[in-house]
Symmetry: C2
Subunit: 432 residues, 2 copies
């Protein structure tokens, strides 16, 4: 049948049926695993207890964390100057990109403004990196447990996810053997997230070096999600991936979001590290082209970036990391005492993973039930590990004020005490 | 060969060659036709004349247009409130979406907050609409001449472009017969841009009705790019597509960018009009899911949206449209007197298309050469029609101050006078 006839036939077929516009395959493939899981849970709180939501990775919601006043002042000045209302170049104003380049340059990883692409938040940076490096049908290696957006972004464009295991008992370091087994000829890139959401782990330089060594051997470019850079507890040290290699091409993704406590500002960036020229002009051009699809990020914030990033915000950053450590220590102390829970102490970011010894709770089949029942009985809301592809754990957000954290831990303790029925050792052995 | 062996073989093959990371097919398909064309031109200005760039669709660059002070004040207030630093829902704060719903509601097309998805600029709105409606291999109908981003966005995700002709001699109305010929069984949507970039045309309601009638008959959902809404000259009237139909599903894309003179703020939106339920939950969900890939738009501007959109800005809007009309009339008057040019008077937006009677300029093969030579000799920079898929024309931006517009027109006049060699009627007939 000639094309015109097909069209005509199909048009009249269309005309007969009620008009329904289908969503594209891309849209149908775009899934938010957290939303999908959480929407499926029964999450009615106990009406007698106020809800404590330790579920959302937004440090500003409790009112105790907010941006440094100097950063807000810089945005006000940028706005009032009237100079930043027009279009910026898609990759950002030169001065803003220069400010980021200075901010992320290290002795072994110096970058220039042309290595920086500003994006609408780190999410957009990740989207552009994944889209630039991966073809449909290829795969991307991501950590498990890991941030759910990696899956959303990859699967949306038909890229498969392969997860490599992190080991809770070894400070959430990656299982390198398992990682290597996941890689194949269709692997387009290795995604590394340090410091980690949901683990709060901050990896030793030697572990990062081992990962880079493996990336080099497998010839995998690295996407380093470093949105929690510098958000580490006192005494810990954040080391950027790029400062540890002169051989592996890295796209490092960062932004103001977490360290500056301004998720809503949507200011993120990609920094291109290309020590051996493996990315060459091609990836640089790819990222620039992709940035033209949506024309970059808010210019008022861009206009403020030099002032925001040049200021050392010493007290602010010190306060933040001390406070987060205090919160982590408080929660860790309280939860460690609870039989049936295995909290893992973080070194940074704003999260803690807590393992559940489910065999101690016969009425609780999995961590989803734990989350539902805890909400129903104690009005404490945690995210189930399945949101991060890691069943058997729950994730707590550490940014709530200490009183709320303490109260939440006490409620969790009461809950666990109520439900715990440790199996006698023999019975448990028999059940295995 | 088992998968592991393939991987190993390919890994060792990889290890032998120098490490080059290829860009994805998506990135390679992502082309900005304007950039590609303009980068290919020789654009050295005449060193003795200051450059007048009438090429960029950014009304703020000359300093004579800027946002209403009340809008800036609203953003300052939003910033200073400290309430808008956290994450908003991906589709935007409810109050901000409600403000847009009120702003775009018409007696025959009332919408609610849930019909609004806030996006990072209208570009992002268009990206989401095209991605939600079109599958790779399908096609999208777009106007010719038209805004180049439609092609960039569609081809980036493997969607083909089919252009329908606009007719300069009929106020740039669409050639409905030609449009219908372009549609086939693989057509996913009809994109309509009114008021138009690059034409500056503002269509009569009857023409919009005819287009809707056709969309209905062909069963094509409409993407209405209405980023220039209300930006029409005194006496003209902007009529939103959605107010004219109770039968065609429409995704209307808009934003603050043009009318409020704030392209850099990146505040755009999609408004879902679904009078017969053809989009149903599916497209709504698709747009919401796609908005989760990059988590929406800047929250400080969102916090200011209710104040910005409730204010009528009467004087500001009246001044803008009067000024733009004065500029258009000035340029039209001056260019109409130049032999060899056929300017087309716009009714809105901020552009004018000018036809070149190329047979009058024997040394100028096409409008690209016209643009290059005009720059080389007179330091006036216009965009060639090919940037909008419409050779033989050039596009002027009308936002420059009147003195610069006048000076530019005088230089264009001198240029045309110098190069014009009208062919005797017989010779021209023979050449046909
Ligand atoms: C690991 C990780 N990467 C990226 C992001 C996204 O950051 P943004 O809000 O800048 O898009 C988050 C946000 O929670 C995150 O946890
Ligand atoms: C017709 C048209 N649509 C959309 C846009 C993009 O608008 P925004 O800057 O809000 O992304 C433009 C910008 O010039 C335009 O001319």
């Amino acid at each position: 049948m000639p094309a015109a006839a097909v069209a005509a036939a199909s048009a009249s077929a269309r005309a007969a049926a009620p008009w329904g516009v289908p969503a594209s395959a891309t849209a149908r493939r775009t899934v938010n695993p957290i939303r999908a899981l959480v929407d499926g849970l029964a999450l009615e709180p106990n009406p007698d207890k106020p809800v404590i939501a330790l579920s959302i990775g937004d440090p500003t919601i409790f009112g105790n964390f907010g941006p440094p006043p100097e950063a807000v002042a810089a945005v006000r000045e940028s706005l009032d100057s009237g100079r930043y209302n027009g279009y910026a170049p898609c990759a950002g104003y030169k001065e803003a990109r220069e400010a980021v380049a200075n901010y992320v340059s290290y002795p072994n990883a110096e970058v220039e403004f042309k290595d920086v692409v500003l994006c609408s938040g780190c999410s957009s940076a990740l989207e552009m990196c994944i889209t630039a490096l991966c073809d449909p049908g290829q795969n991307l290696l991501v950590p498990r447990p890991g941030f759910a957006l990696y899956r959303t972004l990859a699967e949306s464009i038909g890229v498969h996810i392969r997860s490599y295991n992190l080991m809770p008992e070894r400070g959430w370091e990656a299982d390198l053997r398992h990682l290597e087994q996941q890689a194949d000829a269709r692997t387009a890139a290795l995604l590394i997230n340090n410091p980690s959401n949901p683990c709060g782990s901050v990896w030793r330089p030697q572990h990062l070096r081992d990962l880079l060594q493996l990336a080099r051997r497998l010839r995998l470019p690295v996407i380093a999600d470093e949105i929690y850079e510098h958000l580490v507890f006192p005494g810990e040290r954040f080391v950027p991936m790029a400062s540890l290699t002169s051989e592996v091409p890295i796209l490092s993704c960062g932004g103001l979001t977490k360290r500056f406590m301004v998720p809503g500002w949507r200011m993120g960036w990609i920094v291109i590290h290309d020590p051996i020229g493996a990315f060459s002009d091609e990836i640089r051009k790819a990222l620039n082209m992709l940035s033209q699809r949506t024309i970059g990020s808010n210019t008022i914030v861009q206009g403020a970036l030099p002032a925001i990033l040049e200021n050392k915000h010493k007290t602010f950053f010190e306060d933040t990391s001390r406070t987060l450590q205090e919160h982590a220590a408080l929660v860790f102390g309280l939860l460690s005492r609870i039989e049936g829970l295995r909290p893992v102490m973080p070194q940074g970011a704003m999260y803690m993973m807590v393992g559940l010894r489910l065999q101690d709770f016969p009425a609780i089949a999995c961590e989803l039930t734990f989350v539902e029942r805890l909400m129903a009985e104690e009005s404490v809301f945690l995210l189930p590990g399945q949101c991060f592809d890691f069943p058997g754990y729950v994730r707590l957000v550490l940014t709530a004020p200490p009183e709320q954290l303490r109260e939440a831990c006490e409620r969790i303790a009461a809950f666990c005490l109520r439900h715990r029925q440790p199996q006698p050792a023999t019975a448990s052995a028999a059940a295995d």
